[in-house]
Symmetry: C2
């Protein structure tokens, strides 16, 4: 059986690099510092291997040592690479300004996200606040794909094969409310196909609507609008949905017309 053999000759990639990236990924909001021991535990790799890889990451400037607790922390380099990513994103570059304007005009939150494995990650999330001076722009935050309008819009935008692969992962993840949850996800996907958007109230008193943005040769994105401190109501959802559809149409028009690189 020609199961592509991992790591010999190189058709599958590079093991050490893959492991090193996995180490970086082990840091997430909530785990500020990690020691070699914890990393070894999480990754299941021998401690000596981790020791060498973390040393390399320190030398490359991706990790800072925290001597006091014999641990590591993500270094500032990672945000400069993150900044380069945002700077180079053709979608964000094209519609970022429009998103800000729309947030101000409609007085609600506007966000753009795409997938990172089974999470959605915001390229930009503009939090509208009546006290405009406190308006907040966040990038890089992750939200679960299966629970959010953003994630479900994304699922509606990608191909069936990839979608089924992801749904299988969600089933594995939350053994609990699986049946209901998956049905709910599929309902949202149908909603996108029917209405152009889906509405989800993931967090209490937050109503969000989202729609996919599918462009040739680029990852699938999702655009959302949301409002805090509201009761979920169908009327509100369809009002926001209409705004979102209109805005997304405008974005797609601009994106289609942008200079091909």
């Amino acid at each position: 059986m020609a199961q592509a053999r991992r790591y010999a000759g190189g058709v599958d990639g590079n093991r050490s690099l893959e492991r090193g990236i996995e180490i970086l990924r082990a840091f997430r909001p909530g785990v500020d510092t990690l020691g070699n021991g914890e990393i070894a535990e999480r990754t299941g790799l021998p401690r000596s291997t981790i020791s060498r890889l973390t040393r390399t990451l320190v030398n490359s400037g991706m990790l800072d040592e925290v001597h006091a607790e014999r641990a590591y922390r993500l270094a500032a380099s990672v945000i400069s690479i993150g900044h380069a990513m945002r700077t180079g994103s053709p979608v964000l570059n094209t519609i970022g300004a429009m998103m800000r304007a729309e947030s101000a005009k409609r007085r609600l939150n506007v966000g753009l996200a795409t997938a990172d494995r089974t999470m959605m990650v915001y390229l930009e999330s503009i939090r509208y606040s009546p006290r405009a001076a406190l308006r907040n722009v966040v990038a890089g935050q992750q939200v679960p794909m299966e629970l959010t309008s953003l994630g479900r819009a994304y699922l509606a935008g990608i191909g069936t094969a990839e979608r089924e692969r992801l749904l299988k992962l969600f089933r594995r993840r939350s053994a609990a409310a699986t049946k209901t949850l998956l049905a709910d996800v599929r309902r949202s996907i149908s909603a996108v196909e029917r209405d152009g958007y889906c509405a989800v109230s993931w967090q209490p008193a937050v109503l969000a609507v989202a729609t996919p943005i599918v462009l040739d040769g680029l990852p699938v994105y999702a655009l959302n609008m949301s409002l805090q401190n509201v009761e979920r109501s169908d009327a509100l959802a369809s009002e926001m949905g209409a705004y979102l559809n209109a805005f997304a149409a405008k974005c797609k028009a601009v994106l289609a017309g942008r200079e091909p690189e």
Copy 2:
């Protein structure tokens, strides 16, 4: 001479991982996409090696393929790691809110940065704007260490050995105005030692002052304040310097008192 031999047995780290990181670093604002060829050129590595490493980075979710131009782009994962970095930064967590407040109170830009090799990278840069609704917060942007108040404050905050190492690199970089520039840098460092801050007008009509923040067990940071659209004047510089010193003192007090992790 026992020059530590690179890459055998492993005391020096892992070559493939180092190379992979270097590939990620090759993307920067201005170079949105890179093909294997260009990467090979920039890094001096054989194309086959690059081909394998970029494949791995795609599989790990750090790069997206751009089929149309047979090239790669940084993927969204990098900003989620960047977000984790900011989230986990004890300094930013402690004084971020204070920085925002100070920017509003003093009506000027406030920034926090640290070094990434020979550049300073903003953990947060709060751009004050009279039209408060347009206020902008940026993270990850890089500015040259030797030309900015931020960088010179940083140089004043680190140890002599590291400082001299960096100064040597600057000399190599800009063969031109080297003599004057280096003298200027040293003057700024003395200013920090004397006044607590240094003032630099790197970009036309922007006046900036900065001061180092040195904490045990953490990288050295630099805090700055700046104003656009002003004539450089000593009076203004010392006014801003006074504000900065006062604010930095407040920050240091809070930072000293924070729960040790």
